[in-house]
Amino acid sequence: MSVLVFVDHTQGAFKKKSFETINYAAEIARTTGGNVTAVAIGSINAEELKQLGQYGAATVLHASDSKLDTFNAKAYAKIIAEAARQSGAKVIITAFDVAGKAVAPIVAAQLKAGLVSGAVSYPDTSNGFTVKKTVFSGKAFAFVKISSDIKVVSLVPNSFPVIKGEGSADVQPLSVSLSDADYGITVKEINKVSGGQVPLSEAELVVSGGRGLKGPENWGILEDLAGAFGATLACSRPVADAHWRPHHEHVGQTGGTIRPNLYVAVGISGAIQHLAGVNSSKTIVVINKDPEAPFFKAADYGVVGDAFEVVPRLTEAVKKFKESHN
């Protein structure tokens, strides 16, 4: 089956999750026989587009109109649907991120394609097309079988390691005629808040703090720990609600859902609503002075102790480890 991947970018630069979705598409194309085409939208330079070949895209269709530099779900979805028609793709892949969650269903509606949102496995094509996804906020998985001719799958970022190979993609312009009504959204203001950190949704390592840290002035020890690991900071809901930390750091049911390789929870009791956002993490370390904290039941490693004593020691141990492994 030929596969189309929508690759989102930030000011002309692709990120890991884009490479991951191309790898994923390439694996589907390899096992079912077909080509991989990527579709990219907005101003991106040719070199950046060509390097998508290293991850498995044979062709890149590029809709470069500068009117498309700001995200617009409806216009983007129409371009992706057109790219699917032109490339003959039977499977369309996006990341299950802010952009992908908006465009994948609209593309599916336009192409009357069945949709799996939040896939965590490769499709099983031995008997149709069945994909595993998380349900009940990480408490279970469902196997969803798509019966339509065209299929749309959005992949949870950080589900697979990224593999970089050789190759250069053939970049072709894609022109799609859109009407004024397709540009019904204008951006008034953009506020970026993260300073240099890997965004939480893509972070492989996350250090997170809760009420047990007692106040925003105590976040220094977590910043040090995150710095030692090279991790991104997160926090629990009470911490964000009390404005100790910015809202975009909030993970849990009402905040972000993340799937890092390592989640270190400091001073977080592990309420079910918090677990809903982080329980797909591959490894969970819990540091809490209360041995009865429910989070220990969901943890792989735990330290029962005072955060102010344990965290600086862990930071030192991580630094020591990094120095000896460089």
């Binding site: 802010v98 269903p105 798509i146 203001e189 975009h248 792989d300």
Partner: protein, 247 residues
């Protein structure tokens, strides 16, 4: 202007999740169903606020499901809303569900269709955007603020590592999340009023399911936490490297 709020029922967050019939059916026994929190706290309450501010004239609720979902819709009506519609079809396929809402809304002059950012059962985060796609409306996902200025909506939404404020031409579908409104609890007057509010049953339009859930699986049980004391941080780091292989 009229607002249509999409409301789904979902198992209470603290429900124990299990399956029957050889892991092909969700076991509803002992499960309490609630209004999907994102539909209730954010979309519905924001719609009610817009009505109270004199901006919206009517707030309608729609759900797609069997008769068993009526209890939850009554609860939603107790918070407010002028009337409610239940499209009488049970399906787990987002396309079928969205097709019902899109067909219902098509010629009814709703300026805004609000949905929660996701349902806490299937976590697809897709019905709102599917409705937008089916009816060719504008779509904004993960909105944290919504106001009306003239014939447009001004919406603040989450983006990677920040926020963006957009002006959106109506009609539009907006998926709502935390920040949109303050959670409310229905009062006795609302609960009494909800008993007599119209809950109309709508027959479904034909829509072939494009996907189906063939089975479920529970994640492997955690084998138990491995505990370290504060003097064993080197050992913990070694375990993260050698066993967990995450650093």
């Amino acid at each position: 202007m009229k607002i249509l709020v999409c409301v789904a029922q979902a198992p209470d967050t603290t429900s124990k999740i299990s399956f029957t019939d050889n892991n092909t059916k969700f076991n509803e026994q002992g499960v309490t169903f609630i209004i999907n929190p994102y539909d209730e706290w954010y979309s519905l309450v924001r719609a009610l606020e817009l009505k109270e501010a004199g901006i919206a004239t009517e707030v309608h609720l729609i759900t797609v499901g069997g008769a068993a979902t009526e209890a939850v819709i009554r609860k939603a009506l107790a918070l407010g809303g002028d009337n409610a519609f239940r499209v009488n079809i049970e399906s787990s396929d987002p396309y079928v569900i969205a097709s019902q809402i899109a067909a219902f809304a098509k010629d009814k002059d709703y300026s805004l269709i609000l949905a929660g950012k996701e349902s806490i059962d299937y976590n697809n985060a897709s019905v709102g955007a599917l409705v937008a796609g089916l009816n060719d409306y504008n779509y904004i996902g993960f909105a944290t603020q919504l106001n009306i200025e003239g014939s447009s909506a001004v919406v603040k939404r989450e983006i990677e590592g920040g926020e963006e404020t957009d002006t959106v031409a109506l009609p539009a579908v907006i998926s709502c999340q935390k920040g949109m409104a303050e959670a409310r609890i229905p009062n006795m007057r609302g609960i009494m009023a909800a008993r007599t509010k119209p809950l109309n049953v709508v027959e479904p339009v034909g829509a072939d399911p494009l996907s189906e859930i063939v089975s479920y699986e529970l994640p492997p049980a955690k084998t138990g936490v491995k505990l370290f004391n504060a003097d064993q941080m080197d050992e913990l780091v070694a375990a993260l490297h050698n066993e967990a292989k995450v650093i």
